[in-house]
């Protein structure tokens, strides 16, 4: 086999990656983007060198955490992985990861594990022809960037139809938009939550897919777990949630500390103490387990890997600032915000919040979504809210109309000043909960790194 590194296009892209690393920029999607411009078939050719093929995860919410969980399971089972970095989840990011893994005569890893942006899924799946494809959820996200939810769902129908017959497909049974993708395919692994005790009293305001994917009639929900995820049935055409073969049962949410639940798959059962909080992470754990099962791993291996998982990049990560504890909870859209709010209400006492609302492209330039999130649930529990970011005042206003008294709201657009103010007022022994949007989280980590409070801003 010829050494692919001798291909001038690959050599050039690798050279660019090297220059970026020397410049301290870390690996970005740029080398991969460059390579794909030079060589349209690069993804297929490079991934073809992975001896165990690849597995792909996509969703609106939880891609990065699900990939981290799957990585924990698979590396624990001795599989050497090639995976893309958090956020670098478009085709260029996947290509960069493959380029970086390239060695003489092969790859540094055996299996490619890639989280892929919703919008790029069609192209990436087309080129990778993955062994396993896990689709977890579709929520209202960045409409200015992605257009409407149904448009993405329609594109995903094409993705599933175009996926090779031997690609193992795992779908979230509880999301009607996702479950319906398996309509004309056999052998789909459906996963879902089976525990009415963690159901919500009804659909939340931000619920997206309330109407039947097939006939447009409103679904009837027997249980709502999160946003529009739950146990549903269309009273008109009878389309209903498929029975999950992989389920999370006996779920116990323990605030920020994590969650405990049983995984059930056929005759097998495994208890999991998950160190990540909230029902949304139970769903992420189900997605990661579905991926592992699709690749032939056992339920016991999945449970063990889930218990070892560390929070991914800003997702329920805790940082110590001197004696003070800062918990960082990324929020990107209403469904995510609702889950963070629900998790914080499980923590005792009144909370100090550092809300950081940015409107850069990666956050979504349209900040409308804050009005779809149910901050009302959290409002009575807020002792002090410091609002910062490029749209700080609008977040402050949102909290006021959610019921937080204005005297408890402070608007400070400069992040460093806001962080200092929030920490200065913090009661002894209480944590500060930082709730940033995506670019805000990166800025916060950079600020903490510059102050020596986290080791590496791209950890």
């Amino acid at each position: 086999m010829t050494d692919p590194r001798l291909d001038p296009r690959i050599a050039l892209a690798r050279g660019v990656a090297g220059v970026l690393r020397l410049g301290g920029r870390g690996a970005t999607s740029l080398p991969g983007r460059l390579l794909m411009r030079l060589d349209r078939g690069a993804l297929a050719r490079l991934s073809g060198r992975l001896p165990q093929g690849s597995a792909v995860i996509s969703a609106t919410n939880g891609k990065t955490t699900t990939a981290a969980m799957a990585a924990s399971i698979l590396t624990g089972a001795g599989v050497r992985l090639v995976h893309n970095r958090a956020g670098a989840n478009m085709a260029g990011g996947v290509a960069s990861a493959l380029l970086e893994a390239l060695r003489r005569g092969g790859m540094t890893g055996e299996l490619g594990l890639f989280e892929v942006d919703e919008f790029w899924l069609e192209q990436v799946v087309g080129e990778l022809a993955p062994r396993a494809l896990v689709l977890s959820n579709l929520f209202r996200d960045q409409l200015d960037r992605y257009g409407e939810l149904e448009t993405i769902a329609d594109r995903w129908v094409q993705v599933v139809e175009g996926a090779p017959a031997d690609t193992a497909l795992a779908l979230n049974a509880d999301d009607p938009l996702i479950a319906d993708l398996g309509r004309s395919r056999s052998g789909v692994l459906y996963f879902g939550v089976e525990d009415p005790t963690v159901a919500l009293p009804g659909l939340e305001h931000a619920s997206d897919s309330k109407h039947c994917r097939r006939c447009g009639t409103p679904y009837r929900y027997e249980a709502v777990y999160l946003g529009h995820l739950g146990v549903y049935r269309c009273p008109n055409c009878g389309a209903e949630r498929p029975q999950p073969t992989l389920a999370a049962e006996r779920v116990e949410l323990r605030g920020l500390r994590g969650a405990r639940f049983d995984l059930r798959h056929g005759q097998h059962r495994a208890a999991v103490e998950l160190p990540l909080p909230g029902l949304y992470n139970v769903y992420n754990a189900l997605s990661a387990t579905a991926l592992a099962l699709s690749l032939g791993r056992s339920l016991a291996e999945a449970a063990a890997g889930l218990e070892r998982v560390k929070p991914a990049f800003g997702r329920a990560e805790t940082v110590m600032i001197g004696e003070r504890r800062l918990a960082i909870l990324l929020v990107k859209n209403p469904a995510g915000a609702n889950e963070v709010a629900r998790t914080l209400t499980l923590e005792a006492g009144e909370h100090d919040l550092l809300g950081i609302l940015n409107d850069k492209v990666a956050d979504g330039r349209d900040v409308s979504w804050i009005w779809d999130a149910d901050f009302e649930v959290l409002a009575p529990r807020i002792r002090r809210a410091t609002c910062t970011g490029t749209r700080a005042a609008e977040l402050g206003l949102r909290l006021k109309y959610a019921g937080v008294p204005p005297a408890r709201i402070r608007v400070e657009p400069a992040l460093d000043a806001a962080l200092d103010a929030a920490l200065a007022g913090l009661p002894d022994g209480r944590p500060l909960y930082a709730v940033p949007t995506y670019t805000a989280m990166l800025s916060l980590r950079e600020l903490l790194a510059a102050r020596g409070q986290v080791r590496d801003s791209f950890a």
């Binding site: 409409l143 409407e148 349209d366 009005w371 749209r391 005042a393 206003l397």
Partner: protein, 242 residues
């Protein structure tokens, strides 16, 4: 005690751009002034009463839902809505709702009839969606001078007003109705349509008060502590570059 009676049309379907924000602004700004507030949602197939509401609201929706609503608006609710507008009720239609106020919405070969409260026509063009922060200058009766409305627009349709129709405002930044005319929205008396979501009223608390005044026929409202509202308005204007 005065009471603001609001009717949200199709709240389950036409709510894509956080339209709840507009309702929350009206609700709280009434409550803080001891003005009663009643919100009724009216959905597909429901009869609409022309005289039980002071303000009718219709927000934005996904294409498929918007088509369902267009048909229902024309077939079930047109008479009541016209009667309400004639007696001076406020109609606020945002984004997709705005497109339904006019005569027609043209999607390729398909022409969808609107409710025809104002003379306008919207065509979905092949060109890119008009997306971004936007600011317009408006002159409204009862306001001392021109004022600014800030928001966010995201629409594929281009809207053209009929010859006798006035826009809601003049585009300062952004695209407005069609990206070319410099016009944004429509206003005929108390019937208002606009592409500004974001949502509109949280970014422009003064306009929420203007709507409350118009809907209740009041000359003035008790002032509120609007420091956060003022900052939010400036933040949205800054985002639009005004």
């Amino acid at each position: 005690m005065a009471e603001l009676r609001v009717c949200a049309l199709y709240p389950d379907l036409m709510n894509i751009y956080a339209d709840r924000g507009n309702m929350l602004m009206l609700q709280w700004r009434c409550a803080w002034r001891k003005i009663g507030f009643r919100l009724v949602g009216v959905g597909l197939g429901d009869e609409l009463s022309s005289d039980e509401h002071d303000l009718f609201y219709i927000g934005g929706g996904q294409d498929r839902d918007q088509l369902l609503c267009a048909r229902d608006l024309v077939e079930v609710k047109s008479g009541a809505l016209h009667a309400a507008a004639e007696r001076g009720a406020v109609v606020l239609a945002v984004c997709g709702g705005y497109q339904l106020l006019g005569h027609a919405y043209v999607l390729g070969a398909q022409e969808v009839a609107g409710v025809g409260l104002v003379d306008l026509r919207t065509v979905r063009e092949e060109g890119p969606r008009l997306i971004g922060n936007v600011a317009i200058e408006v002159e409204l009766d009862g306001e001392p001078g021109p004022r600014v409305l800030a928001g966010f627009e995201n629409h594929g349709g281009r809207t053209v007003l009929g010859p006798g129709e006035q826009p809601l405002g003049r585009v300062l930044r952004g695209n407005g109705n069609d990206g070319a005319s410099g016009q944004e929205g429509v206003r005929r008396g108390n019937v208002i349509g606009t592409y500004l979501h974001g949502p509109l009223l949280p970014k422009n608390a003064w306009f929420a008060d203007w709507l409350i005044r118009r809907a209740l026929g009041l000359d003035a409202l008790e002032p509120l502590d609007d420091e956060l509202e003022r900052q939010a308005h400036l933040s949205a204007r800054r985002a639009a570059g005004v």
